[in-house]
Symmetry: C2
Subunit: 215 residues, 2 copies
Amino acid sequence: MEIPVVEKVLKLNDDIAAGVRKRLLAHHVCTLNIISAPGSGKTTLLERSFGELREDLNLAVIEGDPDTTLDAERIAKHNIPVVQIETAGGCHLEANLVDNALNNFDLDAVDLLFIENVGNLVCPCSFDLGETCRVGIVSTPEGHDKPAKYPRLFKEADVIILNKIDLLPYLNFDVNVFREYIAQLNPAAPVLELSCTTGEGLDQWIAWLKNMVKT
Amino acid sequence: MEIPVVEKVLKLNDDIAAGVRKRLLAHHVCTLNIISAPGSGKTTLLERSFGELREDLNLAVIEGDPDTTLDAERIAKHNIPVVQIETAGGCHLEANLVDNALNNFDLDAVDLLFIENVGNLVCPCSFDLGETCRVGIVSTPEGHDKPAKYPRLFKEADVIILNKIDLLPYLNFDVNVFREYIAQLNPAAPVLELSCTTGEGLDQWIAWLKNMVKT
């Protein structure tokens, strides 16, 4: 009983996502779907990126969370247009939620849209949101084995960020083993090591973003 | 279309979970359903608990992961009976998976069964596994806002562990704010601060476990 219905839900989502993609393309909006476990640093990464980007690009953010508007409030403090999607306990964003959220922006005044998905390494991977690129984040305290245990995100991501490298001295995290897992799953994906606390490595991420918007 | 089917799935799971609970009770097995985000330290907490428990109690472990048997291999090194459930990308354990896994143990020779759920703060909360108690874990690098943003686990957990307190000096984690969120959601739940790296605070967890098995 369950599986055919799940397939219908996914097919319906894919159809809506195709419409979202067309809509974003028509307005020349580059859109990133940012996926990670809870607490990997998605919101902080956005906060740390605005300064370098806002002179050249018009930014906007969609925030997904099961509850609260805490993240949207953090973004709003930077005077970036933001819409919070509260999923009421739901474990991922879907394309129809994004489609509705887009009505709150003047899309002609947006060059780069960040969609911060619900913190979850599993479910968001199944739902296309109409994005240009998918960004996967892991933070060092989560352990170097995460790509092996939760492979789907790392197989499909266009770029992979290893965040919180400032904590490496205090952890048993083997960067080589981590990179080896990624190389097996997705050899083409760049792996960017960075720390939002110290700022180390953020320049690579900003360069990747600027190149992405240009192309 | 979708919601009635989801309700049916949950109702079916609850019925199977009731059977699992009866089965475990008949064999006097105390069972913990351990839920957290990926990388909060579930497996390491088990590894650090075996030494203090194994003289008095017969232990067993069920490991849930979307892919690989990495965690089961870690447990097996300690000569504790372990069964791995690979969910093939699935985002949570369900009662029927646990029911099948129990066939691999001599339940009369088990006092305390740990079920390590798939690393996910959202979906596992909806699925009763027939457990005696639910354990919620957060680690300090995930941030003190997690109970507010992902409230369901923290509302329903019988005990809440704050892991990786050895990293507090390097983080902007406010333990008071974290405890305040928990107090609002679930004032009865004990909050145990500990570090599996240094061993600090593990004694409270072991005492809580031993008391749970006795009662």
